[in-house]
Amino acid sequence: MSGPTAGTLAQALPFALRALRRDWRAGELRVLLVALVVAVASVTSVGFFTDRLHQAMNQQASELLAADLVVLSANPIQEALAREAAARGLGLARAVTFPSMVLAGDRLQLADVKAVDGGYPLRGRLRVAPAPYAPDAIAERGPAPGTAWLDPRLFGVLGVSVGDRVTVGASELEVANVLSYEPDRGGDLFSIAPRLLMNLADIPATRLIQPGSRVKYRLLVAGQPKDVAAYRAWLDPRIEGGETLQGVRDARPEMRMALDRAQRFLGLAALVSVVLAGVAVAVAARRYARRHQDPSAVMRCLGATQGFVTRLFVIQMLALGLLASLAGSLLGYGAQEGLVAALASLLPGALPAPSPLPLLSGLLTGLVTLLGFGLPPIMRLRDVPPSRVLRQDPAPLPPRGWVVYGSALAALALLVSWQAADGRLAAYALGGTLATVLILAGGALVMVRALGPLRARVGAAWRFGLASIARHASGSMIQVVAFGLGIMVLLLLTLVRGELLQNWQQRLPADAPNYFLINVQPDEVEVMKTFLTGRGLAGNPLYPMVRGRLTAVDGRTVSADDYENPRAQRLVEREFNLSWAARPQADNEIVAGRWWSAQEAGKPMLSVERGLAETLGIGLGDELSFQVAGRRVTARVTSLRTVEWDSFRPNFFVVAPPGLLNAYPATYITSFYLPPERQGLLAELVRSFPSVTVLDVDAIMRKVRGIMDQAALAVQYVFLFTLLAGLTVLLAAIQSTLDERRRESAIVRTLGGSRVQLLKGLIAEFTTLGALSGLLAALAATAVGLVLAEQVFQLAYRPSPWTWVIGALGGTLGVGLAGVLGTSRVLSHPPVESLRQG
């Protein structure tokens, strides 16, 4: 037997492809294809864009090393390593750092000297200024031989200006520039000695590097990621004792954490687009299935088996999915190029070219989305009874609910775990997204229902629009959720974020300390107190600070490997700043155990900050051992405290009673508020206390703000695609109601309705949908803002009415315009059609 009844795959294939061509020519597939192309395009454009952002972030992380890879050693680095890197065409630079006294006339200062060759820096740029604190500019290379660039603080301490000469070891160098920024300066805020940057060629003449000198040698390497990775693989077995490797990812745990967090943020952003795109595909597939019920019934009548019908449509879907995924990926590539071009001035420099990985993810996303969201209604076509051909107006066959949701959920879970690349995060993201969508859907349904009573009070055009929303209640709800989600995220990232920050800043007293003084020597404490008191700056005491590394808890040795939490790893790797005090600081609150009495001075007791204790798993009664200046100090945790970190007063994780740590080398720390008009005092302070380091809190805050703003901007742009995905949902929903709209529009025209009246109805429908989306988004964004303020930032947050105004207005305009443009075709539908639809 031949023909459709035979139903093998080989026989179904040519039939399916012919049907696909026929459907395509008849315009049947365009809706589904467009929905899918847009879906894949939005996902891949996010993929390409985040891929590039991620690479850019990697490069920014490289900036903190001034390279992609650094070999670090206390001894000169093997020449073979540099030769190999050069042979592989990698960028190379060398740097040497050591502490040294710098002299100018009769003044001297300990400086952190760094000598670099012409290749430095390989990543990031140096910035220099002609005078201390003057506007700075990029410098292409480091200092020329015979010259030195000085940290602004050195100018004050040494009393030099640009053009003067300073003595470094046995050499004299000309001060050629003020060094205002150095990419790999970073490091520990508490160990900063002012920098002197000089040329590596001048080092022999200084005669400063002698056996036993405290010198660090660095070999800096940079290049294409795959080349660097290959070099690293070559390097690993050849590293000798004393040499260590630092890559971007293993350089510093906090940097690794920042990158991971960025990846999660952007992954989540992409995920939301996937959800919306899936909804668009589901809506379009439903329409496709509805329109193929009659042809399926006819085929069944003519003898096609159920299996044949299944194979026919599955093959068509697969072919369509492949085609759409390819087209969507290409479109996505173009879309991200356009986006990058449009945002060039806002993005950090030129972005690297995207990797081909998102292309693969586009193909996979397209197929999974189509099959997961689109297949269930299409699979139902096999169940169309042949008797359908006899009935006049049979109800369409609805897909089974659990299959639809189960399959969509499975597709989503697959895509999410792939995007998130982390099972737990995927579960959280999926759960969180689904919960958000469900809550939004509930809100949207209530809103759509609430429109009902309004209909009696409005004119024909508005009633027509509102009636259309009510008639397509589930479709309307989906559209409100899709746009609500997009608008909500954008509101959160812009308005709510700004308001939270503003609320936090308002909470800070105007005279919150803006300068920290560190490295105050014990013999300077009294003089410093007098200095500050004499100038009306004394507010906070000077606190002693002893540096110690946590080595054991209850006798068990601890190392970074014992902890999964990156913060815990970092805390264990680094030295703690320990302090001692007779009384807890005013903003500290004992939450467990008790503070020591005056009689307990010198006893082995410790008070630990609660957050730190939780991070490191330390409890009341635990015995902590610290390595302090080569000796072991052991004491028991007798109290846990909370600390108000944003008071900008010095605070300590671990405090001991007076007497326990007094014998160890300590420096002192304090903070004070210096009004902007009294900045001149700083120079006097630095001159009076050359070894004291002044930290400008405002400058640090500005830097942190800058990083936060940039990260938020990146996420916002990614979420713009979410809005675009929301638009595809709207278009799919419009497409699926287009036949009905045409019919209704023809009837209204027949009854004497004008184009303007029809247009008013469309405007009413879509601006209302948009306003609902915006209001729902504002509601959700405000709720999330309140939860964040309460739970995370412990702030009293008063939501601004602007969130509502901008949300509603944005939704009304955006959705209104898109909806009316998407449906305006029906306006020109000839009224005579109403006669032809008998």
């Binding site: 025209r749 027949t750 004497g752 309705g753 005579v832 006669l835």
Partner: protein, 238 residues
């Protein structure tokens, strides 16, 4: 007496894969105010096309259509819509109610589109008249076929049009319901003294009309012939 609807040398041609196709050729028709006219003919004879042209839903390839003295060819689509809103009512074979509007809202629609005052009262009164006073808030899918057609008739008569075009108004209904609908249609037509132009296969329905015109392959037959055809059909079906 001036005709309320007049077709002058009306032709309609469309392009088809086999070349030009004449659907209507040289149709001339004058319909006096208050007249009831049945347009009969076989499937594909051009009945619905003629109705569409007479109502200004479509434009002829050549010739003119006048409704109440308005030359429809001289108006744009919105101008023709205004003429329809002011003077014309419709009843269709497939009812053509707006599914998202309830019965009352469907009947109010043409009144509101024409900017008439008291749309709701007029719509309620007309729905009462067709016996659906208790079903104002029902949506089309909650009504039977006969009820839907009654809503459609109420919608057609509520604005008190000068001309009512009906396209196979009983075509989708069983014989008994169809008979009731046709009674209602003619009763309302008498009450409102509306001009009725009816396209139908149903010779019983055509029989109710004062005049019958027959289309054959796009041409209007002389009216005597049409009357004979109807009588024969009636005899045949008796």
């Amino acid at each position: 007496m001036q005709a309320i609807v007049e077709a002058i040398n009306l032709s309609k041609r469309v392009a088809s894969p086999e070349g030009r196709l004449d659907i209507l050729q040289d149709v001339n028709l004058r319909i006096a105010p208050g007249a009831t006219v049945a347009v009969v003919g076989e499937s594909g004879s051009g009945k619905s096309t003629l109705l569409g042209l007479l109502a200004g839903l479509d434009l002829p390839s050549t010739g003119r259509v006048l409704i109440g003295g308005h030359d429809l060819g001289a108006l744009n689509e919105d101008g023709r819509a205004r003429v329809r809103a002011d003077m014309v009512g419709f009843v269709f074979q497939s009812f053509q109610l707006i599914p998202s509007l309830n019965a009352l809202e469907n009947v109010m629609l043409p009144l509101e589109l024409a900017g008439r005052d008291g749309a709701e009262q007029a719509a309620r009164a007309t729905l009462d008249r067709v016996g659906l006073g208790a079903r104002l808030r029902h949506y089309p899918n909650q009504l039977s076929g006969g009820e839907q057609q009654r809503v459609a008739i109420a919608r057609a008569f509520a604005p008190q049009p000068k001309v009512l075009f009906a396209d196979e108004p009983t075509g989708n209904l069983d014989r008994r319901t169809g008979a009731r609908i046709s009674e209602l249609l003619f009763a309302l037509n008498r009450e409102h003294a509306t001009t009725l132009v009816l396209v139908t296969h149903d010779v019983g329905l055509a029989e109710h009309c004062e005049r019958t015109v027959q289309l054959e392959a796009g041409r209007l037959l002389p009216e005597a012939q049409a009357e004979i055809a109807v009588v024969r059909a009636l005899e045949g079906s008796a």
